[in-house]
Subunit: 215 residues, 2 copies
């Protein structure tokens, strides 16, 4: 089937983008045709998102453009939300390395409270920069945001910081959820629509929220 066989040496891209999160017992390696199709699908999806806008990114369209059946997309990405999250994956990875190993106050070295603030601000900026994709990822399937790898990572990161910043016995898991909740793309979409809220406003509001606790 694949007539255009590359004469180049096997491309040196990332060895298997496998999950951002908890790898429990190695998910099994990916067959070469599967990997090739994943690449095609992502390329097609990115192309279509750029052309037709995110809301024009239908699964059938992507499948057609990638020369693949829709079943293949669902096996790889689970659902439409998974596909959109995959589109965000590259940015997400660099974001993760910034707050886990970058320079303070986002990275290690600063006070936990300052890191929490920097983290939320960075998230607000990221939301603004990739608003359409993030909104689509979040609304493509019910609960998609919370089930996603990135959410789990962000949550775990916040919990670690809050455990240092809050007295023992505090439910830092809930607190982390509560701090992430205002950064829901749907909520911010609503705030934009009704009150013209900007990323600057969001950050200021989050500071209000934090000043109480972390001042």
């Amino acid at each position: 089937m694949d007539s255009r066989r590359s004469a180049l040496p096997p491309e040196s891209d990332t060895p298997v983008p496998r999950p951002l999160l908890p790898v429990v017992g190695q998910p099994a390696p990916e067959r070469v045709d599967a990997a090739r199709n994943r690449r095609r699908i992502l390329a097609a999806a990115a192309r279509i998102a750029a052309t037709h806008g995110v809301q024009g990114l239908t699964v059938d369209l992507v499948a057609g453009a990638a020369g693949v059946g829709v079943g293949t997309i669902y096996r790889r990405f689970g659902d439409r939300a998974g596909l959109v999250f995959a589109l965000l994956d590259e940015h997400e990875r660099s974001f993760q390395s910034e707050f886990m190993a970058g320079t303070p106050p986002l990275g290690p070295g600063a006070e936990p409270t300052a890191r929490v603030r920097a983290f939320l601000h960075a998230l607000a900026d990221r939301l603004e920069a990739q608003f359409e994709l993030m909104l689509a990822a979040e609304t493509s399937a019910p609960g998609a945001r919370y089930r996603s790898g990135p959410y789990a990572v962000h949550h775990a990161h916040l919990v670690a910081l809050l455990d240092q910043a809050r007295p023992p016995g505090t439910d830092t898991h809930f607190l982390a959820d509560a701090l992430l909740a205002p950064l829901s793309a749907s909520l911010i979409a609503h705030q934009r629509r009704t009150r013209g809220v900007t990323a600057r406003d969001v950050k200021a509001g989050l500071d209000d929220l934090l000043r109480w606790s972390l001042g």
Copy 2:
């Protein structure tokens, strides 16, 4: 159809009726057949939700049970989310009268900070009591929660209280959104699923959040 015809003479006065110009804010009066169908639809929807569960509440099924076309449902309720919200309307109304005119600390008379706390707690209880319906209402359509009447009312209520409790210049609109955000049904569904969180935990967590500010 409607056999009970009124024997009363045509009302003597009050020419009243429809304004010649569309009055923004005043919903046009509803025709009697429309009202009858609304009642039928809601009754059928409640019946089906009780029988098949909320996830079995499909629009086609409701239309069939109500003896009505699906178009009629959409004209009345806008979308599936609107229908589910309508199912919650009765409870919502009594809840609203409680926090607007009931006894303290939920109703007027208590300190604003205490009222905020009582309000959020009441919301958490309500969420627990009608979890399935609320989750369905929120996830039936993207952004349904924020576009809904109840959200606007809750938000306005919180803003009014926060305006009294926070120093001038605070963005109480954002703060209100931020306090309501953790009470998203989707988020709580996730917390239940992954950590077995209960309404008690939610309230304790919200108290943590508020203690900082409203000490």
